[in-house]
Symmetry: C2
DNA sequence: TTACAAGTTAGAGTCAACTGGAAGTCAAGA
DNA sequence: TCTTGACTTCCAGTTGACTCTAACTTGTAA
């Protein structure tokens, strides 16, 4: 069980930010100690680390919330609950997941393109200035 | 030659945003018509489209400015100017380019990771609910 | 029991990145 | 000439994502 500052240290988010994420619903409310302090499970840490990655990819907190919320049903299924309980919404959830997958794929393609541009530039620089660089 | 609203239409940025980018230095000042209206070349459009891609990848406008500015020397070299004119700064520029390349690579790896997570989820959903979906 | 570190809430402040309004200019067609 | 529409500048307002302050509480060690 971890305090907010331990989670802060492990994830790189400040306690301010962690409380803010809770407030806007990106993180759900954790258990509390008798004194009222937030107490986190290890799983919260990996959740936040995953969240950080999505943030780095340029997703907004709203998109991240949508993306990670899809895990809720998954968690329940993995915990042994009957998937047919969720049947009415499952199809929609799969559609959302597929949308995200396509979105990620297209971002990956854009990254590949940017990498190829940057590599091209780099090679040209290096070839054009090989001697200059050796001399500096 | 294009007006600001034509550029807006082609790039998906509003005229407000285009002027804002000019103001903060992300875009350089375009030529003006006799009446003082901004006039853009086609190349500006592809520049902005490239800029949009970098923005989608989560780079800040400051990072984008830094990234794209590296093209300036390249452009001059390609236009036939002697690269040794730029010699003192070339090494540093290559270092910056390499830094960006590594940054892009690491973002790509994170995306691959997120894609694999999403794919995993999707497969599980579909397997667990194959019949339910057929019946809806 | 007191001092202090680390937590709490509510709410204000900050910063990047737009977004919009006001008031004015300019060119082309009726 | 007048109107219309698209532009101009200047500047204030908004949104998303934090970040901090103030005032207070709790737990622990001296």
């Amino acid at each position: 069980m971890l305090t907010i500052s331990q989670v802060s240290e492990k994830t790189g988010l400040t306690p301010y930010t962690i409380r803010y994420y809770e407030k806007i619903g990106v993180l759900h409310e954790p258990k509390r100690s008798n004194g009222g302090a937030r107490v986190y499970k290890e799983s919260e840490v990996s959740y936040i680390q995953c969240l950080n990655k999505l943030k780095k990819l340029g997703l907004s907190l709203e998109e991240i919330t949508e993306f990670t919320r899809e895990g809720c049903v998954m968690d329940k299924i993995q915990q042994g609950e009957n998937p047919s309980n969720y049947n009415p919404t499952l199809k929609k959830r799969i559609e959302i997941l597929e949308k995200h997958l396509m979105e990620l794929e297209s971002r990956r393609q854009e990254i590949e393109y940017m990498i190829s541009l940057a590599e091209e530039k780099l090679t040209l620089y290096q070839e054009l200035t090989k001697e200059d660089i050796v001399n500096t």
